[in-house]
């Protein structure tokens, strides 16, 4: 799972075209500005937008092992949506995404509110809650795989304590393997959600809290009725971040289940890789990649749009 960060601070609309300056000297500097951005922008144009088009094009061919460039229409999409494995990946994404987002939000908010109660050692706790984000899941997955492994992990440990019938073998069961992905993903990202909400909590106007307190509101009521509603935008941000992380989840699956057993815990990201690089189904792989992109765009674009709008309103 690659950690992505969507923050978008709306441009300050009120700021005029910065120090313009008259005459050719100043306009030369403005050209300089374009010139400086040009290499990056060109790279993004080619490597992001150009490549999206390339993949889009390939998805309309019948490329198999190598890309070919004869258009055959939406054939690959038709075949993609006939593959049972694709349905498994989509269904897994829905289960995984829903649980991952919901649980991460719940844990993140609870931890943020609890940590906000003038906790001794808050800094240390925060550091502990967030470290999973700093490590590759390929690394921590090594430990998770072991913990979840029924014959050497938690199941064995609990049985060793005397609970002989204890069973925790989700990772090897077809219909439960995807839930182990949820456990590990929540473990990795909930600290981040906590950090988002904690920062937002600390940005809430203290006067409002004081006023509510004087009005006789209890602490839980203050949080539930005043504080959380006032940081509503953060829910949106957190949701968008988590949702697009879910769509892109890849490392997690590779490290934990490898998509198995069989392909029971495939997600679209692993499906795409499998089709493109292992099964010589480049066109289908490309089609699936575009479905992922479409999903991300459907999440991101309305969000960015509303953020920009919000920026104008402020």
């Amino acid at each position: 799972m690659t950690l992505q960060n969507p923050p978008f601070q709306p441009a300050e609309e009120k700021a005029r075209p910065a120090p313009a300056g008259s005459g050719f000297r100043a306009s030369a500097q403005r050209h300089l500005s374009k010139l400086v951005v040009a290499p990056s922008f060109a790279a993004i144009l080619v490597f992001v937008y150009g490549f999206i088009l390339w993949t889009l094009y390939v998805s309309f061919t019948n490329s198999r092992m190598l890309p070919v460039y004869d258009l055959v229409g939406a054939d690959a999409y038709v075949r993609l949506w006939k593959l049972e494995r694709w349905y498994v990946a989509i269904e897994n994404l829905l289960i995984f995404g829903g649980l991952f987002i919901g649980i991460s939000l719940a844990i993140g908010i609870v931890l943020a509110v609890l940590l906000d109660q003038r906790i001794r050692g808050e800094g240390a706790l925060r550091t502990i809650y967030l470290y999973p984000m700093a490590l590759s899941f390929i690394v921590t997955g090594t430990a998770w795989k072991w913990i979840l492994n029924p014959s050497i992990g938690v199941q064995e440990f609990v049985r060793g304590l005397g609970f002989e019938t204890f069973t925790f073998d989700w990772i090897v069961q077809q219909d439960t393997a995807v839930y182990t992905l949820v456990i590990a993903a929540v473990w990795q990202s909930s600290g981040f959600v906590m950090a988002l909400f904690l920062a937002a909590l600390r940005g809430v106007d203290q006067e409002i809290i004081k006023a509510a307190y004087l009005d006789g509101a209890s602490l839980p009521r203050i949080y539930w009725g005043i504080v959380l509603p006032s940081i509503r935008p953060v829910f949106m941000s957190a949701f968008v971040i988590l949702a697009h992380l879910a769509v892109k989840s890849y490392d997690l699956v590779v490290a934990l289940t490898g998509g198995g057993p069989g392909y029971a815990s495939d997600l679209p990201a692993t499906f795409m890789y499998e089709m493109t690089f292992r099964r010589n189904q480049i066109a289908i792989g490309s089609a699936s990649a575009l479905m992922m992109l479409a999903t991300v765009v459907a999440i991101i674009v309305p969000y960015l749009y509303s953020e920009l709008k919000g920026g104008k309103r402020v």
Binding site: T2, N5, P7, Q9, A11, A15, A18, P19, S33, K34, V36, V37, S40, I44, F47, V48, I52, V58, L111, L114, R118, I119, T127, I128, L130, Y131, M133, A134, L135, S136, I138, T140, T142, A143, W144, W146, I147, I152, G153, F157, W187, A195, A199, R202, Q206, I209, Y213, L219, H244, K248, D251, V254, A255, A269, Y273, F277, S286, A289, M292, V296
Partner: protein
């Protein structure tokens, strides 16, 4: 930053004290949950194979043995290559250092140009660059593989550096842009009247003011690129693979007896650089994580 409730008087009495104990208990239980995998990794990496077989998951090592670490570093087999993690670790360093420097530099320049010398369409350019940070990498894997082949960079560290620089630009530009937006335009105006040009203002005024965001960006990019697996797995061949790919290969090699302690030691080796950076400069890493996603 101070606690939201810091302006309120503390509750006291027995009930309040019990509630505070409960509060700490919950927070500590969560800390245990977060720490569990790390503890398992560290303690297992210092155990002998015998001890792993006889002991339990959570027990601490009886005799601390660093054998697994040295074996993982120099002798473990990644595929058919039994030189340990060391050469792959070096690969990662070779990829990460230039990629971080180049992408940070471009990010700083872009941020400066996009905020302080705003040209027509600057916001659109920024939005288009920003979108790159949301891009599912799967969409560009195939064309990138083809392009790297075309450029003769397939399977090389150079190719991976290029990939990381390009797809890091969205973040580095975002960081610097949002930082420079908060630096008053008056500084640039004053410097212009004082006679400084585009690059002089950048090097003499903006860059010296950029230390905090520079640290955030470098740490962010370092962590991202070091931890990358997908690009490494897709574009690096055999000996040029970064450490994460090597680790995955090592862990998933099923030949012979499974040496869990070596797996864990190798995982620790792969994770240690980012872990150390996080421990030393976690504050900046968190700032990178939350940069801009909370409206201030």
């Amino acid at each position: 930053m101070s606690s939201l409730t810091s302006s309120l008087p503390r509750a006291d009495g027995a009930g309040a004290r019990a509630a505070r104990w409960g509060l700490y208990l919950i927070l500590l239980l969560f800390a245990v949950w977060y720490l569990l995998p790390l503890v398992v990794m560290v303690s297992t990496s210092f155990k002998s194979l015998d001890e792993i077989r006889t002991g339990s998951l959570l027990s601490l090592p009886r005799d601390i043995s660093t054998d697994a670490w040295s074996y993982a570093w120099t002798n473990a087999c990644i595929g058919a290559d039994c030189r340990g993690m060391a050469p792959y670790f070096l690969n990662s360093v070779i990829i990460v250092v230039p990629a971080v420097i180049i992408s940070t530099l471009f990010g700083a320049l872009n941020g400066y140009a996009l905020t302080k010398w705003r040209f027509r369409g600057a916001n659109l350019v920024f939005a288009m660059i920003l979108f790159g940070s949301f891009l599912p990498s799967q969409v560009i894997l195939l064309p990138m593989a083809q392009t790297l082949g075309f450029l003769g960079l397939a399977g090389t560290a150079g190719g991976l550096i290029l990939v990381h620089v390009v797809y890091g630009l969205a973040f580095t530009t975002l960081f610097f842009r949002n930082y420079y937006v908060s630096i008053p335009d008056d500084l640039v105006k004053a410097a212009t009247i004082d006679g400084a040009g585009f690059f002089q203002i950048f090097t003499k005024i903006m860059l010296p003011l950029s230390l905090p965001i520079m640290v955030v960006t470098i740490i962010w990019q370092f962590t991202q690129i070091w931890n990358d697996f997908l690009f490494g797995a897709s574009f690096a061949a055999g000996g040029a693979q970064p450490v994460t790919v090597a680790l995955n290969n090592l862990v998933n090699t099923t030949t012979g007896v499974k040496q869990y302690n070596v797996d864990m030691a190798a995982a620790m080796i792969a994770g240690l650089p980012t872990l150390v950076v996080y421990a030393l400069a976690g504050k900046y890493f968190i700032r990178g994580l939350t940069a801009g996603s909370v409206k201030g």
